[in-house]
Amino acid sequence: GDVYKRQGLRICYKMAGSGYDYDVSTLSPEGKIYQVEYAMKATENSSTIMGMVCKDGVLLGTEKLIVSEMMVSGSDRRVYSVTKQIGMVITGLLPDGRCLIDRAKEESASFQKQYGIPITGKVLADRIAQFMHMNTIYLWARPYGCNIIIASLDEGTGPALHLIDPSGQCFGYFGCAAGKGRQIARNEIEKLGSKNLTCKECAFHLAKILHKCHEEMKEKKFELEMSWICPESGMVHQMLPKDIQKELEARAQETLEKEAMADVQSQIMKNINICLLYTSD
């Protein structure tokens, strides 16, 4: 629990850090950097983001809570195009994330200017990861409190996804998720096996999984942002066209309701069977 402890003019929580968590340049005796862990906590309670690599392309998606009824829909952007064939989605502290997107755009532009070829997803992800890691070594900086997924489609390597966390770790994935609903999302993605489906088919599953992740907070209004790089989008990173997205979301909700009903029904049947078991003589 939290215990207030007065320390001179400072009032601080006495938590797990206990003195080794004041700046990011301090290692704890257990070998952890607490500031980086706190940065990861910032992303754990924020909107779910996820990505899937498909047979012919790659998908990105995020669910965002609508903060105010008066906000123009689509103004709180989370998914951005960095180059024609690379897209990024952010979660956690959004201003930090948007700063990283600007940095990614600069890196891509300078790579293209110097080498004449568009930057590949892996090279960009490595550079952004190094950039984020820089903020975990110096005293005067704090880590970026955001998780990023970079989706790319290169001529040579094909579709790819990279997930970067606040510590600067960057891995390539076939399917990944971050944010509040990440456990549900990861289980669903594993069950799905998106590598054998086309982007068009996977888009429906993406909408469904994002709706599923949101189930605990049914009362709060939310919006989906989805994007893809696939033949339907002309091999270019593009937000899902509004009509397609609406149709997919409607279908996804229907399917979820049916599945929920089926669950309830099977529960009822189980209970009836148990009752019958006990009442039959």
Binding site: Y115, I117, G156
Partner: protein, 266 residues
Amino acid sequence: RRPPRSTPKPSSAASDVYKRQVHGDYLIDMESIDWSQPIRDGTTIMAVVYDGGVMLGADSRTTGGALIYNRVSDKIEPIHKRIFCLRSGASAHTQKIAQLCRLYIGQLGSELEETPPVYSAAKIIQSFIYNYKSFLSAAMICAGWDPIKGPQIYTIPLGGTLVRENIATGGSGSAYMSGFCDTHYKAGMTRKECRDFMIQSISLAMFRDSSSGGIIRLLDITKDGVSREYISHDQLPLKQNNYSQSCLLYTSDAADEGLGVDLGGR
């Protein structure tokens, strides 16, 4: 080029020993050599895409005014495993540009973890030649093979344009072989045809251009590897001191002993 001037007899005083140099049977007066001329690869360079790869060829003469600094120089510079460039113009400039290109392409290769595109090497060379064109005198040809586009050649002449071509020539000697190249080049040659074509063209250029000469260096780049060879002086189709040769046949199988033309047969 400056006209030859009559040289005064070298002084025979013992203190002037630095002014005399003995080369074989000849005494050279070091003071009569014009040291102010920059060292240039006067040159004939050429690259041709054939069916299966790209072949690069160059002469081997490096001059500084009327003095030949190196008669067996190598104008074919490696940039990466399957990317090479040919240098013409001021030697210092082109060597530096090639060195910097090698550095950047090495970095790109390790970042991408695969064969870097030839276009990137050409782009780097272009950025130097274009941005520093008022200081540099360099014209280069960048050629190679990469898995996405196959064999490619890019020319970057003095002003810094970047042009992709299937046959590229450069240097002062290229003017003398342009007619021959236009007549006899055809797309999709075999390796042997390409090699013979290049040997003929470059030796024609070396025959007429005073800043090209020496041996012909050839480099062949394919998917599977890179191989180098040189055609030494006595194997050239046109021997440079033999003014009696006035007729050339461009046939790859002819053993034209009657005309004294030896195509090497390699």
